[in-house]
Symmetry: C2
Subunit: 282 residues, 2 copies
C-alpha cells in the first residue's frame, strides 16, 4: 500500500512538499497529532486540539488559529478514503542556529488512509516485550507529542517478529513509561494504573480519556509501575488514538501471561462506541 497522502495542506495551501529550511526537519522543532477519522468525524478531536495547544505553549510556538485548523481538518477528514488525519506544527523556517526567535508557525495537515490492526489483536490480545532502548528523562519535553522521536524509532527497530506486536519502554531508572506508540494501563486489584509522564513519554489522548472513565468498578490512577511489578497485574492493555484499547495477554522474554481483562473489554467497547477501535464480542 502506498504511503502517499490522499491530500495535504501546508498553511492552508494544497501541496506535497516542505521548504528545506523548515525547523521541523532541521531540528525536530515542532509537534504532531495523529487522529482517527470515522465517517468523516474525528473522535476525541477536542483532546487532540487541547494537547497540541499545550505543546505549542510549552515550546513557545505560536498556537495555530483554532478555527482555521479546525476547518482544514474537517475538510480533509471529509474526503473519500481518509481514515487518519495528521497535523504537524513546526516553528517555521530557520536553519541557522537553534535560537527559537521566529514568531512563526507552519501548520501541515495530512489526510491518510487507515491501516487497521487485525481484528484478532483487538479480540484476543497482543504480545509485548521490553525494549533495550531506554527513554531519556527531560521534564521540559515529557508528555509532549513533539517531533523528536528517535528513541521510539530505535525501540521499534528492536523487534520485527510476528509474535510480538508492541514494545515496552522503561526510563533510565527502570520504570515503565509506555509502549513505543501506545500508553499502557495495568490493573492491580481495584486500581487501574498508568505511569506518570512528567519525566518521559507521550500523554496520549486515549490515556486521558481512560483516566476520566467513570463507573468501571476500578479507580483510575497515575502511579509508578516498576518493571518487575508489571507481572503482578491482573490485566494489562495498551491504547492509542488510532487503535483504541488493545488487551495485552503475553510478555515475551521473561514469559508471563495475562487474561483478557473484563474491565479492559468494557473500556474497549466503550471507546469503540465513541469511534476508536473495533467493537468485539465480550
Amino acid at each position: 500500500m502506498s504511503d502517499a497522502p490522499i491530500a495535504a495542506r501546508i498553511d492552508g495551501v494544497a501541496g506535497s512538499s516542505l521548504p528545506l529550511l523548515d525547523r521541523g526537519l532541521q531540528y525536530g522543532d515542532g509537534l504532531f497529532e495523529t487522529m482517527r477519522v470515522v465517517q468523516g468525524r474525528i473522535p476525541l478531536l477536542d483532546r487532540h486540539f487541547a494537547r497540541l495547544a499545550e505543546g505549542c505553549l510549552r515550546l513557545a510556538i505560536p498556537v495555530p488559529p483554532h478555527a482555521v485548523l479546525e476547518a482544514e481538518v474537517a475538510e480533509l477528514a471529509a474526503l473519500p478514503g481518509v481514515g487518519v488525519v495528521k497535523i504537524i506544527v513546526t516553528r517555521g523556517d530557520g536553519a541557522r542556529g537553534y535560537a527559537p526567535r521566529h514568531g512563526t508557525t507552519r501548520r501541515i495537515v495530512l489526510a491518510l488512509p487507515y491501516r487497521a490492526w487485525p481484528q484478532a489483536w483487538h479480540r484476543d490480545g497482543i504480545a509485548v516485550r521490553w525494549c533495550q532502548t531506554r527513554l531519556g528523562c527531560n521534564p521540559r519535553l515529557a508528555g509532549l507529542k513533539h517531533l523528536n522521536r528517535l528513541e521510539q524509532v530505535l525501540a521499534r527497530g528492536e523487534f520485527d517478529d510476528s509474535n510480538v506486536q508492541e514494545g515496552l519502554l522503561a526510563d533510565s531508572d527502570d520504570r515503565l513509561v509506555g509502549g513505543t506508540c501506545t500508553n499502557v494501563f495495568a490493573r492491580f486489584g481495584h486500581a487501574f494504573c498508568t505511569p506518570a509522564l512528567d519525566r518521559a513519554g507521550i500523554a496520549g489522548v486515549v490515556r486521558g480519556w481512560v483516566l476520566e472513565a467513570e463507573g468501571m468498578g476500578a479507580s483510575m490512577e497515575v502511579r509508578e509501575i516498576g518493571r518487575e511489578r508489571l507481572a503482578e497485574a491482573d490485566e494489562v492493555f495498551v491504547c492509542n488514538a488510532l487503535r483504541g484499547i488493545v488487551p495485552v495477554i503475553r510478555l515475551a522474554g521473561p514469559e508471563h501471561t495475562w487474561p483478557v481483562g473484563v474491565l479492559t473489554r468494557a473500556l474497549q467497547m466503550r471507546l469503540a462506541a465513541a469511534g476508536i477501535g473495533h467493537e468485539v464480542g465480550a
Copy 2:
C-alpha cells in the same frame, strides 16, 4: 539577511523542498553535518564524513555513497558566496509508524552563506551561563549529530541577552555536557579536559581535533567536569566547526571570570591556520 540557501540538492537533484512524508520531518529520523567552507574547501571534511557514517551505522540508516556525497559537497562548496555546507541524511519517506523498515536514505545538501561571529569574541572571549534545560541521557543517541534537537532549541531560547553568547548544558546528574552549539574544554593545571559524551551531547569534529592536538604542553583528556568544578579551571574555551575555538572569559549567574588562556590562544591559531575561526593576535 535572508535564510534562503544559495543552492540545494536532494538526492543529487536541485530543489528547495522536501516530500512531506520524509522521516526527518515526521520523527527527526536522521543526522546532519554543518561544515565551514573556506575558499571552496572544507576543513576537517574527513572528520565530518566519518562522524556522519558512524551516525548512519548507529541508527541503521544506509550510509550515502561516499564518492557521490563528496562530489555534491565539493560542487556546492565551490559556488560563489558559499561559507557553509550542511548535509542532512534521513531515513527517507514513511509516516505510518516508527518502525525503521525502509532501507532507504535521502541525502540533502545545502549551500549557505557564512555568518561570522564578531572578531572581538574570538579575540577577547565570550560570556556563558548555565541553562536550566537539562539534557536527558540516552547512550544509544549520545554523541550523534542527529535531528532531535529540541533540547538545544529550548536551552538556546533561555537567553537573548547581548551579554551572554553561549549557554552551558548539564545532564540530569549535574555534570557539564557542553554548550548549546559547542563543545567545552577546561584546563586544570596540565590537563585540558572535555566531558565524555557517552550519555548525552554531540561529539564535535573540532572536539576530536583538539583531543588529538599534540605538543601543546598539556594533556588532552576526556574527563567528567562537575558544575562546581568549572570555576576552578585555569582557562576555558568552546568550539565548533563553524566558529573554531573561542575563549570563555566570564560565567554569568554565579559570577566568575577566566583569563584568555595561552593554550586556548595557541590552539585557536593552529585551528585558524587549518581554516576554522579567525586568526587573532596573541
